[in-house]
């Protein structure tokens, strides 16, 4: 029998310290939450810190209706889903050529994608803006679907080819000996085995696209085409006079992200750490 090790005082101090820190970190969300349900007269009387006595749900609905939030949600969903599909497909195919096919010049292709990852969107935005006008894609959701679908391919290819390059050789060799074509190998070996990773990648693209700001800001001027993130950033300025309405606006703005995160928490964490391991 090994005696149970004494814990001592230090771990408890660490625990208390970290819990206080976590509460400080969550505090902005809490304060936005209680104020978005606080009636305006309570806010004036009791201030921003007080817990609401009566719960007022009207600001929520008012803001929702005024910015036509359902429309924005639908736009964002549409854009993010299509971008994930396009980007995962393109990245998967390119990474297949690099990681499994080991085509010549693969390091050049990867290096090019890596460098492109550092290019700021500002160095692309004006050309994208003027070309999209030429193709009549300006102020259309398709403009940003195409742009993000293709732009995300850089990161996706980089990530997937490093995953694919660790693929067991014996499996591929056996398939080749049996005379399987590249397409056949892709469909019956690589795709089924990589499905979980592709799902992780799709989730990441979905959230990245959801949070994009600069390119939607430039490309989608009309109200009906705006995404959630974009409309939050440009409409809340109108609510400066009413602090509780502003809290409600911020809450509505980050609610979808929090919900996605809670649903996909595990998947997302896997993705983030996958990206960090070379």
């Amino acid at each position: 029998m090994i005696a149970k090790k004494k814990i001592g005082l230090t771990p408890y101090l660490v625990l208390i310290g970290l819990i206080i820190m976590a509460l400080v970190w969550l505090f902005p969300l809490y304060i936005a939450f209680i104020n978005s349900f606080k009636p305006e007269d309570e806010f004036t009387k009791n201030g921003v810190l007080a817990f609401p006595h009566h719960w007022d749900f009207s600001k929520f609905g008012k803001f929702w209706g005024e910015v036509n939030f359902s429309r924005k949600l639908f736009n964002s969903m549409q854009v993010s889903i299509l971008v994930s599909l396009i980007a995962v497909t393109l990245s998967f195919l390119t990474a297949y050529a690099i990681g499994i096919g080991k085509v010549k010049g693969r390091n050049w292709i990867l290096g090019f994608f890596m460098v492109a990852f550092t290019i700021p969107q500002e160095a692309l935005i004006y050309p994208l803006y003027s070309v999209s006008k030429m193709f009549n894609l300006y102020d259309s959701l398709w403009s940003i679907i195409i742009i993000f679908g293709v732009m995300s391919t850089g990161f996706g290819t980089y990530l997937l080819s490093s995953v694919m390059s660790t693929f067991p050789d014996e499996l591929l060799e056996a398939a080749r000996v049996d005379g399987a074509s590249p397409w056949r190998i892709l469909r019956s070996i690589v795709l089924p085995l990589l499905r979980p990773t592709l799902f992780v990648l799709a989730t990441m693209f979905f959230i990245f696209t959801w949070n994009e700001f600069l390119i939607p800001l430039v490309m989608l001027p009309s109200n009906d085409h705006q995404t959630v993130t974009l409309s939050m950033a440009i409409t809340t300025g109108q609510y400066t006079s009413d602090p509780t309405a502003r809290a409600a606006a911020a809450l509505i703005g980050f609610m979808p992200s929090v919900i996605f995160f809670l649903i996909f928490q595990r998947t997302l964490m896997r993705g983030i750490t996958l990206g960090a391991v070379k």
Binding site: Y126, T153, W210, G253
Partner: protein
């Protein structure tokens, strides 16, 4: 042998859609932007070639240099401080919390600290602008409640505190990312070294400094690179919170180029700023990757 060669060639087809689309969209735009930076253009009509004039003007543009100074300040707030704090906190969670209090507590801590990461930056900006507002904002309310009335400032409205306020927000945002990466890195380390050192009577901080940190170099360099790149690209929070102001107090390169593209309509000048930024980012990324390889080889 020949069949294998043919096979390798067949694989090229799979790379064509992705590479072509990426080259056309990203490569094409990038070079078109460089071309624009040598021109004088209002966005309509034909651009006029003016050679290096835009760049010569940039060198003397006080705001341009100031914007890069602010970018360097953001490297502190978004990369250096979060990396250092993230290492410390990740290690505390890993060594003390997970070990003595179980996974549930450590997951709660990780998720709470990670939450700011999942919210879109402009939305975070709105939330903080609201918290920082001078009269009814929660931060000043707290300061007044604890008797620190003199520190209840107009945080975003004054040149002296605007950058500081944005930096504090950035630390709040970034720390979750570094913690998550470092904790996952720690789980790949061999506990043997740490246990041996513990038996030899090394304190926690000694083990943290001498054993944990050196083994986490790969993660540290990835985090350092991605957060530095992000710091130089800051746009959304500045757009929604300060518009680069007051004056130029929070001007950053990305916002400065956007401003010239779409407000002053000096497209060529905006393009020159964006080109310089892109160049700096690329050089920085390549040298950080080089450095990382050097460190890896030397060990």
């Amino acid at each position: 042998m020949t069949s294998k060669l043919n096979e390798t060639k067949q694989f090229y087809w799979y790379a064509i859609p992705g590479v072509t689309a990426f080259l056309a969209l990203v490569g094409g735009s990038f070079f078109y932007n460089i071309y624009l930076s040598f021109n004088d253009w209002q966005g309509i009509g034909t651009p006029t070639w003016i050679g290096l004039t835009n760049y010569k003007e940039l060198v003397h543009d006080h705001t341009f240099w100031l914007s890069f100074l602010h970018a360097v300040e953001f490297i502190f707030a978004m990369s250096i401080i979060p990396t250092a704090l993230g290492l410390l906190i990740a290690s505390l969670i890993y060594d003390f919390i997970a070990k003595h209090f179980g996974n549930a507590v450590s997951t709660f801590l990780r998720i709470s600290l990670y939450v700011p990461q999942i919210i879109a930056l402009p939305v975070v900006g709105i939330l903080w602008a609201w918290m920082l507002s001078p009269n009814v904002g929660v931060i000043n309310t707290i300061l007044k409640n604890i008797g620190l009335d003199r520190f209840a400032l107009n945080w975003l409205g004054q040149g002296g505190t605007a950058m500081f306020s944005l930096s504090v927000m950035m630390i709040w945002i970034q720390i979750g990312y570094t913690i998550v990466i470092f904790i996952s890195g720690m789980s790949r380390l061999d506990p043997y070294l740490d246990e041996a050192a513990q038996l030899d009577g090394a304190t926690w901080f000694q083990r943290f400094r001498i054993i944990t940190i050196p083994q986490l170099y790969p993660e540290i360099s990835v985090v350092g690179l991605t957060t530095t790149v992000a710091a130089l690209k800051v746009f959304g929070p500045v757009y929604v919170m300060t518009n680069g102001g007051p004056g130029d107090a929070t001007q950053v390169p990305a916002f400065f180029s956007y401003f010239h593209f779409f407000s002053t309509l000096r497209v060529g000048y905006g393009a020159a700023i964006a080109t310089v930024l892109a160049l700096i980012l690329t050089v920085l990324a390549i040298s950080l990757l080089r450095l990382q390889r050097k460190v890896e080889l030397s060990r």
